[in-house]
């Protein structure tokens, strides 16, 4: 790669979708298909860029790579600081992978203001990538909040009947949840000034802070709660999940895919990147409670999913259940479970993303998501049913699919930390099979009804093109997980080490390793 590209590739990756989406406004409305093709090209270009990052990523180290640092708001120590490690790498790939698929899936589904749809989707991609890649906590917050805007429009403009209610609920919930996080961020920046004499919002600097630890009422405990609230709402963790079914059911297919596929991951990612390392010493006092809540979320989400009549709602509640595993694994705080959590985040992005797309395929044809409106699809639209079955297997974690690896690792690791809650969570695996297989039984099998199957056509080439990659991923990730762990292991190991460091004093040598090794002073202050 040319030097310019290597040095700025993360910035290019973040800005490309947003900046390249602006020319969309020059393409007249009469040339809608050109707009769609242009949007697809931009998103594919971003995907290729992220593959370039992946290809030149060095999996042997836990250090941040492709680091870029420029002074931004000097007076309060905020910098434009980006970098990638084994944890964010795959989440970035997942994001760039899903966006072209979403645009392809929306080809006919989105009828009004196509240009704006593409613009908001690319805008959203930029902000999500920015959040995954920020190493400055203020910069992260900017992206974190900014992503609400495009998502709000995506749900509110192209959503279903109750779209406005859902969009507002989504926004208010997440915005309010972030307020304590903002205060915690400001507090940390001032603590850095108090302890080291300069303001800094850079994550490696903040990790060096020694904050009073102890119980939940200590400073670290408060900081953890402030961050965890924002992230738990995003995940969403029971009982803060109530915005999710509304948002999912009302969002257009593409909105649901990106929401479930990537945005929920930001909650888990935020915990891994910021909340847990910043308050490592108080985690043992929170872990049992959070593992209990996750176990409840797994079972509760699954039970609710069983009771749904609406396919999309069913998938939405299954997300609550699946994301419960992620949090369960994270708070087991050992290498196995955390690896499983990261893997489960990717799995969930793949399987739930695909499920929402499949629901979208049905909805485009029959304009209903009622389970009772479908039956015997295996006979009438066999190709669709094959996809549906494979994705279902992935979702219920059948061995040889990706879901199995993730859930197995989580349960194995969590068992070491908290066997009782793991036993409760384990029942979620069975419940997951219940709601998914029952769904398949009701819509795929049974007698095809002439009235019900009227107008149903099997998936076309375009749909095949965007669904096939999911099937490939399901088996590839299920059969060859080493491919992923090769580049993530070092970072995960480093993450768990950070957490086990008991006191801030002992924390120092570890966090020294977080700092990008030779501080590249040539980047500083040259903006």
């Amino acid at each position: 790669m040319p030097a310019f590209l290597t040095e700025h590739i993360l910035s290019i990756l973040v800005l490309a979708p947003l900046l390249l989406s602006l020319p969309l406004f020059l393409i007249p409305d009469s040339m809608e298909s050109i707009q769609k093709i242009y949007g697809l090209v931009v998103s594919l270009l971003t995907f290729v860029l992220s593959l370039l990052v992946y290809a030149s990523f060095n999996g042997g180290t836990a250090d941040y790579q492709f680091v870029e640092k420029h002074a931004w708001l000097e007076s309060i120590g905020v910098s434009y600081f980006m970098g990638i490690d084994g944890i964010s790498l795959y989440l970035v790939l997942l994001t760039t992978f899903l966006v072209p698929i979403i645009l392809l899936s929306a080809w006919h589904a989105v009828e009004k203001s196509v240009r704006r749809y593409i613009f908001f989707m690319l805008f959203l991609e930029s902000t999500i990538l920015g959040a995954f890649l920020s190493l400055d906590i203020f910069l992260f917050y900017v992206f974190w909040e900014a992503m609400l805007i495009p998502m709000f429009f995506l749900i509110g403009i192209w959503g279903g009947k109750e779209r406005i209610y859902a969009a507002q609920k989504f926004l208010i919930y997440t915005f309010t949840g972030s307020v304590p996080m903002l205060i915690a961020i400001i507090y940390l920046v001032f603590q850095h000034k108090a302890q080291f004499g300069v303001y800094s919002a850079a994550l490696p600097d903040l990790l060096k802070l020694s904050l009073p630890g102890g119980g939940a009422h200590s400073v670290q405990g408060m900081i953890f709660m402030a961050f965890a609230l924002a992230f738990a709402i995003k995940v969403p963790l029971f009982p803060l999940h109530t915005w999710l079914p509304d948002a999912h059911v009302q969002a257009p297919t593409g909105g649901s895919v990106i929401l479930a596929g990537v945005m929920l991951k930001l909650g888990g990612y935020g915990l891994m990147r910021f909340a847990m390392p910043l308050s490592a010493s108080v985690l043992p006092s929170f872990a049992p409670a959070l593992m209990t809540i996750s176990a409840i979320a797994i079972v509760y989400g699954a039970c609710l999913a069983i009771a749904q009549n609406d396919i999309k709602k069913l998938v939405a509640y299954s997300s609550v259940s699946h994301m419960g595993y992620v949090i369960l694994g994270l708070f087991a705080m050992n290498q196995i479970a955390v690896s499983g959590s990261l893997y489960q985040m990717l799995n969930h992005g793949v399987s739930t993303g695909a499920l929402f797309l499949l629901v979208g395929v049905l909805y485009e044809r029959k304009h209903t998501r009622d389970i009772a409106a479908y039956s015997g699809l295996a006979k009438t639209i066999p190709l669709f049913s094959i996809f549906m079955i494979i994705i279902t297997f992935s979702s219920i974690a059948l061995p040889s699919t990706n879901g199995f690896i993730g859930e197995f690792l989580i349960l194995q690791g969590a068992f070491l930390a908290n066997p009782y809650m793991t036993a409760v969570a384990g029942t979620g695996v069975i419940l997951g099979a219940v709601y998914m297989l029952w769904l398949c039984q009701r819509i795929l099998f049974g007698k095809p009804d002439a009235k019900k199957s009227e107008g149903l056509t099997d998936i076309n080439l375009r749909e095949f093109v965007y669904l096939a990659p999911f099937v490939i991923l399901v088996f590839f990730m299920g059969l060859y997980p080493k491919f992923f762990f090769d580049k993530a292991d070092a970072s995960i190991k480093h993450f768990t080490e950070q957490l086990s460091a008991p006191a801030p004093a002992a924390n120092k040598p570890v966090s020294a390793a977080v700092t990008p090794p030779p501080v590249r002073t040539d980047y500083d202050n040259n903006h």
């Binding site: 708001l73 309060i76 203020f138 208010i172 205060i183």
Partner: protein, 504 residues
């Protein structure tokens, strides 16, 4: 002792003239445009052009003069009655900029509302002159004169739609309430004079520095509280905000934004000077170690203002009323900056004012071009479908509203972040927590407008929105958009400039 007029005080050196020049330019502008207004230039809509350009020229000249002659040295004038310094120059630039944007935005709005433009331009210049003086004078009676110069002009501006009952009501209401505030201010001044035997801020500061126990003198404290109340009245702090919704609704749209931005900035400038005179380096903040009386009063009022402003705005249907309550809420955030004190708070306060001028003038500018006669159609519902009818106008309004709501990456977000982080540094964590929570409420009502613009179909009443096409109005909105985004992405420069604010 009161200084009798001393001829030495009246002598002005060359530097003094240079420092006074922006004020003289504005004075000349006011008089010149009043004269020019008596001539008629043609009959078309462009007949306003000469007068507009003439007035704008003076406003721009005053702004550029203070920008080019800005100095870190404070220059006392007239024996300490007035002081031209970095602070006043900064405010002069800010006020001239805001006035220019208002004048541009008004260009065709005046036509639509049948407002006599030949009166409008001179009066707005006089009012801006009053505001500029307000940021520069350092003697209580001079502050009163500046305050009245500004206010009297604004009373007239509010009532400029002479045939509109609402506008008249607003003007009279504002005049009467403003008169009461002026009386309170004068009463406070007399008490302060009675306690300290001087009305010059410099002397007040010196007396208190010599004898800090003066701050426990009940007469002095009563005077200070009275003066403060008068200021709080002008910037519409709860519970002195009662006049605001009616006046903001009744006034011509851009006059409303002029009041909500420029006027507020000028009054804050004067208040900052008074607070510094009384409480020295730490102002009313907690940073001096002990909390002062004014701190507690402002703390409570700031909280009330943020809470009431935001929650009442939730229930508003009329857009101008909604923005009026939002303006009240923003005053609450500005008060948080006051509480953070001179060392950390004032630079962020001025930054907030600049950001607020950009986003608020922008939002009202959009309303002005969308309004039908007498603003009858400006309801939240009437915005339905605007995103499709007027995509660019709607996009601009969306940016302003997101900024007002404090969403990144806009100026409003950075400004709030700065002000809140300054307040946390000053030890006001509780207030900040409550303040940020109320700003989450604010997002809801700003977004309701966005929801209507983009997510609802145009209804029956919204179809006939009159859009005034005016290059000047569009230019002013464009400037506001660019400023809102620029300050959101690159706030460093401006904030750096603010760091040099030193008062005495």
């Amino acid at each position: 002792m009161i200084t009798t007029i001393n001829s030495a005080n009246l002598f002005l050196s060359h530097e003094n003239w240079v420092g006074l020049m922006p004020f003289l330019i504005m004075l000349a502008g006011a008089m010149g445009s009043m004269l020019l207004g008596t001539f008629q230039f043609g009959h078309g809509p462009m007949r306003k052009l000469p007068l507009f350009l003439f007035s704008a020229l003076f406003v721009v000249a005053a702004g550029i003069w203070s920008a080019t002659h800005i100095s870190h040295e404070a220059m006392p004038l007239f024996g300490g009655m007035m002081q031209v310094d970095y602070f006043s120059s900064l405010f002069t630039m800010m006020l001239c900029g805001a006035t220019l944007l208002v004048m541009m935005g008004c260009f065709s709005y005046l036509e639509k509302e049948h407002i006599h433009f030949s009166e409008f331009y001179p009066i707005i210049i006089v009012s801006t002159l009053g505001m500029m003086l307000l940021s520069a004078v350092t003697e209580l009676l001079c502050i009163f004169i500046a305050l009245e110069l500004m206010s009297l002009a604004v009373y007239v501006l509010v009532g400029m739609r002479r045939k509109d009952a609402l506008s008249n009501e607003a003007s009279v209401k504002y005049f009467i309430m403003g008169g009461v505030a002026a009386a309170i201010f004068l009463y406070g001044t007399s008490l302060i004079y009675g306690a300290l035997n001087t009305t010059k801020l410099m002397d007040i500061a010196a007396v208190i520095a010599r004898d800090p126990s003066q701050l426990h003198n009940p007469i002095l404290l009563a005077g200070l509280v009275f003066v403060t109340v008068a200021f709080l009245f002008k910037v519409a702090v709860v519970p002195f905000h009662m006049w605001t919704p009616d006046v903001y609704e009744g006034a011509p749209t851009l006059v409303t934004s002029y009041m909500a931005t420029a006027l507020k900035a000028a009054v804050f400038a004067a208040f900052i000077r008074i607070a510094s005179a009384f409480y020295g380096d730490h102002g009313v903040s907690r940073m001096g170690g002990e909390t002062v009386l004014l701190h507690d009063i402002i703390w409570i009022l700031a909280l009330l203002t943020m809470v009431l402003g935001n929650f009442v705005a939730l229930a508003q249907k009329n857009l101008k009323r909604l923005l009026a309550y939002s303006a009240i809420a923003h005053t609450g955030y500005l008060l948080v900056g006051i509480l953070a004190g001179p060392k950390v708070g004032y630079s962020t306060l001025v930054f907030y004012l600049v950001a607020y001028i950009a986003m608020n003038l922008g939002a009202f500018g959009v309303l002005a071009i969308l309004s039908s006669k007498e603003d009858r159609n400006l309801t939240v519902e009437s915005m339905a479908g605007l995103g499709n009818r007027k995509p660019w106008t709607a996009a601009a309004l969306t940016i302003f509203l997101l900024s007002l709501g404090g969403m990144p990456p806009t100026a409003g977000f950075v400004a709030k972040y700065y002000i809140f982080s300054a307040a946390i540094e000053a030890g006001e964590t509780t207030l900040v927590l409550l303040g940020v929570l109320t700003s989450a409420v604010a997002v809801f009502y700003y977004l309701r407008i966005v929801v209507n613009m983009y997510m609802k179909e145009a209804g029956a009443e919204s179809g006939e929105a009159v859009v005034t096409n005016s290059a000047f109005a569009f230019a002013s909105i464009l400037v506001c958009v660019l400023l809102t985004i620029h300050l959101g992405l690159f706030p460093g420069q401006l904030l750096h400039a603010m760091k040099h604010i030193a008062l005495f």
